[in-house]
């Protein structure tokens, strides 16, 4: 589908985008924080609760059977989107949950004192704090990949990957918009049998992903940034190199006093009643993305990106990072606090984000106390970008 040609039709699937506040249109440019949901996803949630809601897996009745069937189909739908086997996809609450699960379930059991782990300075706190905690707990050595003014990790930094037992790296930065060359980095770490976790929270909503081709050991994403509801995400594991961290219902085949027999993955890592409504709704979101075509999304977003950057050049806007970036535009304005920029834009119904974006280390490395951030998705328009800069110019 040609998104530019059908943009008005697509936007009708997102009634919230056509909402008016104080009789004025709204512009939603806070997509890196969370995306809006099409009515297909909202309707799916309603359909479940009104027609066949019941706990999954063990109920011998129609509702449970139907819920289980939908839940299993959702896992297949999501797995196929990433070109992976469904049994390698563990449902989580979000990326943070997935990363912490790996830190506890893999890191605590497979890493040992003195091992080197590597993270970058552009990580979201969710892909930094678990490793800082693990390093302290297990007495690991931590090395940090630095980035340059263009927001890129220079190749010379890759030397730090040698002998690393673990690399935790963001695919696309939620501040810089940088897309890291994760395939290349993974190859280096794998040469000496290290493991790699990729935080793909900001990439999977926008970029065609073939996880098997990227070849990470762990790969996390969250549903709410890709049209799905909050509270559902995924963790891909290439091999079963974790010990369960959460214990409870549904993750065991049998239990005796003093012993138990675990299920196979993914169930052994999904203790307790899962968020199956969220998973089914995420499956619906994936169907929607497939219908539009991720290549078509990429093509349209590339045009939005170029259009936005034209304005950046025209008004000499101070971007955090370089211009080779995905559609995340963090910026600063001399003499204006980032929160005041966001509040002013809000007065004009333009919704962006300000602050540290949960990337305190990144901002401190750049000697910034925060930034304002506009982030786009495929349902945004060129006209919205025009309006954004028309308003922004008033305070420059």
């Amino acid at each position: 589908m040609n998104i530019e040609k059908h943009i008005e039709e697509i936007r009708k699937d997102f009634p919230i985008l056509n909402k008016r506040i104080n009789d004025k249109k709204i512009v939603y440019f806070d997509n890196a924080a969370s995306s809006q949901k099409p009515k297909q996803v909202v309707n799916k949630i309603k359909e479940i609760y009104e027609n066949y809601y019941a706990n999954v897996h063990r109920g011998l009745h129609y509702f449970s059977e139907k819920s289980t069937e939908e839940y299993d189909l959702a896992r297949e739908e999501i797995a196929s989107f990433f070109n992976i086997d469904k049994n390698h996809l563990i449902f989580t609450n979000n990326s943070t949950h997935g990363i912490n699960l790996v830190a506890y379930a893999h890191g605590l059991n497979y890493l040992k004192e003195g091992d080197k782990i590597v993270v970058s300075l552009m990580e979201h706190n969710s892909n930094l704090l678990p490793w800082q905690w693990l390093a302290k707990s297990k007495k690991l050595k931590v090395e940090y990949l630095h980035f340059n003014k263009e927001g890129k990790i220079p190749e010379k930094e890759f030397d730090k990957l040698k002998n690393a037992k673990f690399l935790a790296i963001v695919h696309v930065s939620n501040v810089l918009g940088t897309k890291n060359p994760v395939e290349e980095m993974i190859k280096i770490v794998h040469e000496e049998e290290g493991k790699v976790l990729v935080d793909a929270s900001q990439s999977v909503p926008h970029i065609k992903i073939n996880i098997e081709k990227i070849n990470p050991d762990f790969f996390v994403f969250t549903g709410h940034k890709m049209l799905g509801p909050t509270g559902i995400g995924g963790l891909y594991i290439k091999e079963d190199i974790m010990n369960p961290f959460f214990f409870g219902g549904d993750m065991v085949k049998d239990v005796s006093l003093g012993s138990y027999i675990l299920q196979k993955p993914p169930l052994k890592y999904e203790a307790g009643t899962p968020n199956f409504v969220g998973a089914i709704a995420l499956g619906e979101a994936i169907k929607y993305l497939k219908k539009l075509g991720i290549e078509n999304i990429m093509s349209y977003e590339k045009k939005l990106n170029a259009y936005f950057l034209e304005y950046v050049d025209k008004i000499n806007l101070n971007l955090v990072g370089g211009k080779d970036r995905e559609n995340v535009f963090s910026f600063t304005v001399k003499g204006k606090h980032h929160s005041d920029i966001a509040l002013y834009l809000n007065e004009n119904n333009i919704f962006i984000r300000s602050g540290m974006h949960c990337a305190h280390v990144l901002h401190k490395y750049l000697d910034l106390n925060g930034s304002a951030r506009a982030s786009l998705y495929f349902y945004n328009t060129f006209e919205e970008i025009d309006y954004f800069f028309e308003v922004l110019r008033r305070i420059l």
């Binding site: 606090h337 929160s339 509040l343 925060g370």
Partner: protein, 95 residues
């Protein structure tokens, strides 16, 4: 002089407090913060000079923010950053 800091995701407010005989004599601040944080810092400073520590502890910061019509949760946090900073300076608990 006592120092305290309030931090909220990119807003930083440092306060400097002179206390004599358990009474607030002077408060100054340095801010890398939004306008609303600075406006409320100025507002609260005028109210707090001359109060003793116990009165500061029971001072209705939230009530004033509400009376000023601040409803947005993120704005409230920024408006109340001064409270965090002065509590920090005076070693008061707010939990």
């Amino acid at each position: 002089m006592k120092e305290g800091v309030g931090i909220e995701c990119g807003d930083i407010l440092k306060v400097y407090v002179i206390v004599e005989n358990n009474t607030i004599k002077e408060i100054t601040y340095k801010a890398q913060a939004s306008q609303i944080t600075k406006e409320f810092a100025d507002f609260f400073i005028n109210k707090l000079i001359g109060l003793n520590i116990e009165e500061i502890k029971n001072f209705p910061f939230e009530k004033y923010v509400k009376e000023k019509g601040i409803k947005m949760p993120a704005k409230k946090k920024k408006a109340l950053l001064f409270k965090e900073a002065i509590f920090d300076a005076l070693g008061l608990e707010d939990f």
